[in-house]
């Protein structure tokens, strides 16, 4: 499978004709790296026979995380669109690795936007080159979409804050070197960088999941965990605004990731439908199969166009929160439909073969994670109603 498809290339060219040669080289290089290092191992990652960790590290060293960051922080200074496109390729190569990298980079973006100069210069070079892995710890057992209700406490102590509480469904838990933790101080939810090695940080056993099995998910608890004052990100009490801003950007990337998952399922089906015969002809000759193929393809291209548009708004400094949410809602639900159609076309093989139902299992997470479809529809509607007034 050619991860950076000729169609994707021509879409990129039509969006950004002037920089196309350089962008093309960057994405082609990433694509071929993923084709040889990740794609052939994705079923081993899914079944737990192999860990994504060393491959994720090499991918980060290759430079995927650095793509959208300014050069002065160790980034490549390329458009966000190129980063999102890279995550689409990664979503097709191995969705678990894509999820892990995407969360990591969302933390890096948060530090760049809201962190102090010391935090930026100290952490960004390490995060962008993959020397350190980050994790985003917002959700709690009793606080999900209603993130303002976080119960984890950060009480003022001698040199900083003392954290107590639990976070759940935390991607990269146990593997991360640092956590971006949202905890309540006297002024409200605030954002902290907590080193994984700090005393009082403990990580639960990895959760068994429907999909994204290559990525590690667990509960992370803080018990009398001392966090120095310089690890407070931005201003006290502003944590939820930071989390919201970080998630707006992450939603574009999650949309791209799901377009990638859909492409993986689609590519498999295209090969299968031409070779599998029924009633003495390839199943691709049947109209009801063709209907599915047409809908799959249209959905993939529409999903890519939506995340491209949201990326361009973000690059231009315009409000993109509604468009990012639209891209995520559409792309995640589209990829579920595409992967479901793929299983249908594979028939019994689709239901019984791990590799054939893996895209569906992976895609299933992201109508929930990083903003449920329901909450995002409310966000889109309220933003659009406000714009219309």
């Amino acid at each position: 499978m050619q991860l950076f498809s000729s169609e994707h290339q021509s879409m990129l060219k039509s969006f950004r004709p002037s920089d196309y040669p350089e962008h093309m080289e960057v994405l082609s290089s990433l694509g071929s790296f993923m084709e040889s290092e990740l794609l052939p191992r994705s079923s081993r990652f899914d079944s737990g026979q192999e860990s994504i960790a060393p491959y994720r590290r090499r991918l980060m060293e290759h430079g995927i995380c650095a793509i959208p960051f300014p050069r002065e922080h160790g980034g490549l200074g390329l458009p966000f669109l190129i980063y999102a496109s890279a995550i689409e390729l990664l979503g097709a190569a191995d969705a678990s690795t894509a999820l892990s990298v995407e969360i990591h980079n969302a933390v890096a973006e948060g530090i760049m936007r809201f962190g102090s100069d010391e935090q930026r210069s100290g952490l960004l070079p390490l995060l962008l080159s993959g020397k350190k892995l980050a994790s985003f710890a917002l959700t709690e057992p009793a606080s999900g979409s209603d993130a303002r209700t976080v119960r984890t406490l950060a009480e003022r102590s001698g040199k900083g804050f003392t954290l107590n509480g639990s976070k759940t469904f935390i991607t990269n838990a146990g593997e991360a070197d640092l956590y971006m933790v949202f905890a309540r101080t006297g002024r409200g939810p605030s954002c902290f960088i907590v080193e994984a090695s700090s005393p009082g940080v403990s990580v639960g056993t990895p959760m068994l999941k429907l999909g994204m099995r290559g990525s590690r998910t667990a509960e992370v608890s803080f018990r009398d965990c001392e966090v120095p004052m310089e690890n407070l990100v931005g201003a006290e009490g502003e944590g939820i605004d930071y989390a919201t801003a970080i998630l707006h950007g992450a939603r574009i990337v999650v949309a791209a990731l799901n377009v990638g998952i859909a492409r993986l399922a689609y590519d498999g089906v295209m090969r299968y439908s031409k070779t599998r015969t029924a009633f003495e002809k390839p199943i691709s000759e049947f109209q009801l199969v063709r209907e599915k193929i047409a809908d799959m393809k249209t959905g993939i291209n529409a999903g890519r166009l939506l995340y491209y548009y949201a990326s361009c708004l973000k690059e231009n400094g315009q409000d993109y929160s509604s468009e990012a949410a639209q891209a995520k809602v559409f792309a995640t639900e589209m990829s579920l439909r595409v992967c479901d159609s793929a299983i249908q076309l594979y028939g019994g093989y689709g239901y019984t073969t791990e590799d054939l139902h893996r895209p569906w299992r992976d895609a299933r997470l992201l109508t929930i994670g990083e903003g449920t479809s329901e909450i995002l529809r409310l966000l889109i509607a309220s933003r659009e109603l406000a714009r219309a007034s």
Partner: protein, 255 residues
Amino acid sequence: MNVAVCVKHAVDEGELRFDPAGRPLIEGAAGKMGAFDKNAVEAALRVRSEVGGEVVGVTVGGADARKSLKEALAMGADRGVHVLDEPHLLNPSRTSALLAASLREAGQFDLVLCAEGSSDTYSGLVPPMVAERLGYAYVGYARKLGVTASEVRAERSLEESIESVASPLPAVISVVSEANEPRYPTLIQIMQASKKPVAEVRAQDLLSAGGTHSVTIGSMFAHSTDRKRIFLEGTTDEAAAKLVDALRKEGVISV
């Protein structure tokens, strides 16, 4: 040490399509740097890191070949030479003449590294031809290299043996794929490669005559195997006996 490494923008065999008669559709086929050429570039970079010097990437081909040259630069070559020529699928005589002429123009080289063969046509003819034209020593199929200021020691990977040889410099060396694990250029190296100098030379300016065709391609087909489609029926024991008979008739076994 001045090291040149020759790379070919080869047909991407993974993307190659065939017509119904099994003939490869070479026109318009996607290209990429020959898989083994990456081993040659890696070997050149390792020589440079051991003894210092400069690595120059050289390619012969159409405008597309610049992509493979840039890949060599991204991997770490210092500069490039692109001999612009009409793409020829298999014309080792012309390719080697152009490579030798461009190398003579590009500098004094102690070492010229090539792959054991290109990953599309794999004739393996170009490296010895380049050596002959330059009047350099030739060491083929090296899997291990040790370079000093005056000589190169190599282990040659032959069909059933390993041969250790030493050769004076300058020399042309072809390396096999087991020689090393080629590095992946990072994204920053890929972006920086665009800024490295590439000299473009036109083939007609290097060769007054057109370059002879030493090889003519009679035909080229996808490999196919005819299966005999013999079905063995009966119980397991009967079928096993029939299988042994059939294998004996085919000369696969001789019991």
